[in-house]
């Protein structure tokens, strides 16, 4: 009977013709660990498709076979291809540069492997980095990401011909490295901290575009040092040559941080956004005086700097959206993490941020007390997430709007030792662990249409209303007009997740364990 069933199953499997399914459904998903196995394919800021990666069968003792299915932005299945990987291979990241997919795998025994596939599923090349050649910090990072299902964010598409990877150098001292690969996964250039340097240096890529790579470099005498000197690094994306590296303010003149950067146009100047501090103030514990924007030319020369002070400029914008209670709260120090920058067709600039502040974490303290000071891994500090923030500037960098968009306050735990982190580092950490309520921004530059989507923990539309399964907040910017609304979403399966979708939509994935299938459907969020 068992044999017969298998035979029939196989006959059916082989003879099956594609059905005109109503929704995108992926069948025979024998193993589906988490939503990270699905994702969006982004090309020039625009979501152009989706992928799903799932286990198919064991090939031999060492290898398993996986199936990757690629859909366009309407969930039309375009390509399915099989990839045979060592069974312990972990897919850390998938990036699409408009032409080629780069898949980043990690295997505890063999190390990193970067494989590129073209749109037809043809393997173009691969590049291996032996486990022994990976820095211990790199290994710590991948381990943390694997354990906590965090998205690895280290690969960036430069243009449709190359990728850049941010990593840690294999030095005695902690250092950084940026490595670029072509579409055949061959290394084309490498840049990084000086191996002879006596300082500890780390890098955070701020932005990658077809011409520049902007990054923040932190330099400290040792790992435990509280204070670090912050540098702004500008690289040529084609060659990896350093265009400029300059310190972001000194103690005497006041320090600066860098939060975001973007190109004014494809061949235009670069704009960086950050916070500035009072002379002598500490990035870690003090609140900044305000924000600044800086225009930089292709040689790294500063052309213009505009400052916006919290008191004097920003506080002039009255907050009509938030309650009196909220307004009081806002007087206390809140940092802003900037998730995205939008520049519309009229040259208007929008900064999309989220408020957060460090506070004592009751859960962290309790855990530490319970553990009798033996360390629970949790910090006595937590992070309270506040409202969404939208700042508007005209093309001459004049601030034209500052709005707080209320959402329910939530808290995120921090790991041990996080008490001494700077707000910038804390923000990056929160981003890395997916701690913010912000979900994604979908952009359609051609139609001048942008949607910022976040999750609101207040799942009721009104006090009397029942809770919906998910409550989304949507800030939409279309043709220079900004609107916001809260959108309830309902789902059928208990195992669901959200993916970004084209502007105005959200993609919902639902996994049915019994039927071994995944259903995808898109829902309109903005009409």
């Amino acid at each position: 009977m068992k044999n017969l069933k298998a035979t029939l199953f196989m006959l059916l499997l082989l003879g099956v013709t594609p059905s005109w399914a109503q929704k995108a459904t992926v069948n025979d998903v024998f193993q589906f660990r988490n939503s990270k196995q699905t994702g969006t394919i982004i090309d020039k800021d625009k979501i152009v498709g989706y992928f799903v990666f799932y286990f198919k069968e064991k090939v031999d003792k060492k290898n398993s076979s996986y199936e990757i299915e690629i859909f366009d932005d309407n969930y039309t299945s375009l390509k399915t291809f099989e990839i045979v990987r060592p069974k312990n291979s972990y897919l850390a990241e998938v990036v699409f540069n408009g032409e080629v997919f780069m898949l980043h795998f990690y295997d505890r025994k063999t190390g990193y492997e970067f494989v590129t596939f073209d749109k037809n599923g043809e393997k173009l090349g691969n590049s291996l980095i032996d486990d022994k050649n990976l820095s211990k910090y790199e290994l710590q990072r991948i381990q943390l990401n694997m354990d906590s299902d965090i998205d690895n964010v280290s690969l960036f598409a430069i243009d449709n011909k190359s990728f850049v990877r941010q990593t840690f150098a294999k030095n005695d001292k902690l250092g950084y490295e940026l490595v670029a690969y072509d579409n055949e996964a061959k290394e084309i250039w490498k840049a990084g901290s000086d191996p002879e340097s006596r300082e500890v240096q780390t890098v955070e890529i701020v932005d990658v575009n077809s011409r520049f790579i902007t990054a923040t470099v932190y330099k400290r005498p040792n790992v435990l040092a509280r204070k670090s000197d912050v540098y702004f690094l500008l690289l040529d994306a084609k060659t990896g040559k350093v265009i400029s590296e300059r310190e972001l303010g000194t103690d005497k003149e006041g320090q600066k941080s860098i939060l975001k950067s973007f190109l004014l146009s494809e061949d235009g100047n670069l704009v960086v956004i950050g916070e500035f501090y009072k002379p002598g103030d500490d990035l870690v514990k003090d609140k900044s005086l305000g924000l600044y924007m800086q225009e930089i030319d292709a040689n790294g020369a500063i052309l213009k700097t505009v400052e916006y002070k919290w008191k004097g400029t920003i506080d002039k914008f009255k907050q009509a959206n938030i309650s009196a209670e909220d307004a009081k709260e806002n007087e206390k120090a809140f940092y802003i993490y900037f998730h995205d920058v939008i520049k519309d067709k009229n040259g208007k600039i929008y900064l999309i941020g989220e408020q957060f502040r460090k506070n004592v974490s009751a859960a962290g303290v309790a855990l530490n007390v319970l553990n009798g000071g033996n360390g629970s891994g949790a910090s006595n500090f937590g992070v309270q997430l506040g409202n969404m923030v939208v700042m508007e500037f005209d093309s001459k960098y004049k601030m034209t709007g500052y709005d707080l968009i209320p959402k329910k306050k939530t808290t995120a735990m921090l790991p041990e030792g996080a008490g001494v982190w700077s707000p910038v580092t804390m923000g990056h950490y929160l981003k890395m662990i997916d701690g913010f309520d912000y979900a994604f921004t979908s952009k359609d530059r051609e139609k001048d249409n942008y949607n910022i989507v976040y999750i609101d923990a207040n799942r009721k539309e009104s006090k009397e209303a029942k809770k919906s399964d998910i409550m989304l907040g949507v800030i939409s910017i279309k043709n220079g007009k900004r609107e916001q609304e809260r959108v309830p979403i309902n789902v059928a399966s208990s195992n669901w997740w959200i993916n970004a979708a084209k502007p105005g939509y959200i993609s919902i994935g639902e996994y049915y364990r019994k039927e071994k299938k995944i259903d995808f459907h898109v829902e309109q969020i903005k009409y």
């Binding site: 298998a6 929704k23 995108a24 090939v59 076979s65 039309t76 084209k502 829902e523 309109q524």
Partner: protein
Amino acid sequence: MRSTLVLILFLVGFIQVFWSQKSQLLGFKPQLNPTSEPYLEYVKEHTTKESVYFYDSLNWFDKEKVKRLLEERLKSKQKLLESNNIITDGPIYTFLDGILQKLKSANPDIPQDAKIVLYRDDSFNASTFGDGLIFVNLGLLYKLKNEDQVALVLGHELGHNTARHTLENLQAQLLAEKDVALRKEIKLAILKPYGNITALNDLLRPRVYALKEKSRMDEFEADSLGFLYFSRAGYSAEKALSMFYAMEHSREERNKSSLDVLKLFKIDSLSDLGLKYKQYTRETSLGMGLDTPDDNPYLLSHPYEKDRLNKLLVLAGLNKFDSIVKEIDPSYRFISYQTDGEMLTSSLMNDDFSRAFFYALNMANDYENDMYSREHLAYILSSLALYKKTRQAGKYLRLQKLWYDESFDRIVYFLQCLSPINALDLGRTVWSDWCKEDEAEQAYNAARLGFYYLEDQLERCSISLETYKELNSHVIYKKFYEAVQSDFIISGKAKKVNYKK
């Protein structure tokens, strides 16, 4: 004088025929209460006959196997027959049965107990289990143009039955089961700790190719037999053979001209919705071509349509074939109208609002005074307003696909573009433009009331369509409500609620 009289008589006769046809065309009623009992008995009886066919040459052990195989097949047949998807009565059924009777009486040598089951499926297909029961899909009738084409299809299925193709396939399956070496290899492949899917594929692929090859040969044989039965019954090859053209283009919609929804619903082309709709595009965002896995000719279960047509042309003694029937035969128009109505009903039964909307729109466009399609357009739009409001519409609406015909793809896109308010307003347009004024106003007010009542009073995130209908039964206008109620019964999901005046 005489000629004038003849002319007048002819005109009177023509007008009478025209009117009777026209009035016959309107007032579609879905066939929702299938009677499966006679068919269930029929398949049971035939299973016994089939077992006799096998038993003569078998030992006890193999008889048990055959018994089990036949039982499994019987169960799947019963499942099909007990579902709400069959139609066993009504004008389409009578029409099909009439053709079958004609074929049977012209061919006394074929089994005379063959029966028809009309099946709710929008694919272009008809099938048989080999026992004389012929399943005809609605999607087939939807695309055909005249009675002769239907007769050719039925003849083909009868051909399968007389040639005992299904029983032969069963026999092959039995032989495969008896094949000890194969069983051993399958077992080994399954027990393999690694690569069992690939191993099974490699093992079975040659067999699958052989099975497909046999299946293609069977189709040719059924074609020739069917053509013989069909010719004996006096049907015309010229009229029927363009059926293969319809089959080859079965992915294309019947009405190739795109429905201009902006014009139909009087939507201002400069309004938000109008502008959005004009942005329609078919390109895929990733710029890749589609996979066409069925391109492998060795895996096709049916031969290419052109090959089948050429073989039949030889039988028919025709040198070439160039008269593709494009127009629906006037005598087939009534069946076509009924099929449109059933296609719309079936789509709603499957919660496929995109298809239902498309069929309803086509039907309303083709038949000026048809109320069924109009009521359903209003119903679909107001339900959609609710689903859009609660962000569940994605489960009921299709997404754009490259392989859809453009006319349908545009409708899919249009429905995606609608906001809840748009959907509600369009419902109103349907009523006010296509129905009597006072009725329209009442119907619209009822739908609007329901919608806002829902928005204000209910936890709008957790309400289902059924609750919505129930809650609104007291305010929904009778006629509209009846349409909703019939859908209630169709979907079989909700309780019947008595309408109160």
